[in-house]
Amino acid sequence: MSAGTGSRNTEPWGGFDDHLIQGGGGSAVIDMENMENMDDTSGSSFEDVGEMHQRMKEEQEVSEEAAAAEDDGADEGEFLGMKGLKGQLGRQVADEVWQAGKRQASKAFNLYANIDILRPYFDVEPSQVRSRLMESMIPVRLITFPQKVAGELYGPLMLVFTLVAILLHGMKTSGTVIREGTLMGTAIGTCFGYWLGVSSFIFFLAYLVNAQITLLQMLSLLGYGLFGHCVVLLVSYNIHFHFLFYGLWLLIGGLSTLRMVAVLLSRTVGQTPRLLLCGMLSLLHMSFLLYLHFSYHRILEGLLDSLEGPNLAPMERVARDVPEVTLNLTTRSLGGLVRAH
């Protein structure tokens, strides 16, 4: 009573046929896919039951077609029997082609749209993020050997989004209500463009001067450098004194720039490369903060322009009572500034 090799078919009920076992071995990809699908218990019950129903319907259809083809072949004689056979063959071939295409497409999708590629860069703990935020304001002293740069993307990404939110907050509290939509687009475009663009540019320069830094590390370094920007803008968009802003710009902006510069210095050899790289970075970083602070001033002036029309001379521009957010003394002091300019 052995069902050992299965090819002997000793059992009256057919035993385990060979092709069943070999079929499973040959289509390992399909099996893996099925296993994957079955293990994914986080899907909706609709999805799972829908899939099963689809499969059952397909099986039913196939068996019905096979039965219908057989009937046709038996009843109509040889001519139509041939046609029935060809039809069934054609259908089978089409089915095979579809299955193969679907398999390839899902393989390609799993390979390229796999977010697991990014997973190691998001492997952080909250305490690590906190400590890195604090460290981004502290310039290191030791520049004789390469400083460690954490290669993670969670912190930088969240800081860029925070910067976008702060920019929006700033644009709103200044009373700009025109073109709300494009303000959002501009804010997102500016922040992401800066982060990605300047990182790539500095990485390219670093590649030219043979500095020891990778793109991921540069992205991470610059991202954390935006923490200082977030703090300065948060303060200066609410408390509107120009000298306060300049002081913070120098102090906090300067500290975060110094940190980035120190890390880059520790990874570059030679006077000229160091000068080039670090000069470029500090120039871009500090001027970005200046740009962010002053860009919404221009928008505010645009608002006043559009409200008062072309009649008033520029010198007589006065901050009128527009239906705006009068949360803080921003508007009053801004009005004074506009008059002064």
Binding site: K172, E180, T326
Partner: protein, 228 residues
Amino acid sequence: MALAEEASTPFVGLSNVSISEEIPVEGNITVPAGPSTRDDAFSTLDEPVKETILRDLRAVGNKFFHVLYPKRSSALLRDWDLWGPLLLCVTLALLLQGGAADSDDQGGPQFAEVFVIIWFGSIVITLNSKLLGGTISFFQSLCVLGYCIMPLTMALVVCRIVLLSGSGMVSFAVRLAVVTASFGWSTFASTAFLADSQLSNRKALAIYPVFLFYFVIGWMILTFSPRN
């Protein structure tokens, strides 16, 4: 002795029984195509359209109810659907439309911007929570984030009503209070549903972008002022 043997090892005596071909074995072995209840449940093609719509509406309404009284439950996650988020997104975008100060760009960019922000933001938050090691699926997360916009939509309706009575300091204070309360409610509701799917030590990392997302939507609502 045979009896004793049989008593101690019951089925040993059957090992030499052969099924002879003189005893015909008859019958039908049919593999049922799933339990019959499933078949009934899936013949939804024949039911009247009203029933389908009502069933979907009831499911959506049930989820709205769960958002209104957020408890740690899996109701939103089990049977996700994106009807509710779509409805809320379209409502929000339509209501935020009339806020342009000049008459040129009334409808187009603002509707599209709100739409894009909500869906792009939800996708980014979902990807972030998956990358941090969350066990939630893509569409479940979209479903939860979309449904939790409901308090903010209600706040926008209230704000528009308040703005009808003028836009002075008092109305601003009222609007600020309403929007802040609904923002807190949205964030709390979404954490009640999403927190369980995250690793316990990374909850804060996954919740922070949700907080930012609803903050941005809340700001869009608070600073909305209609054209007169």
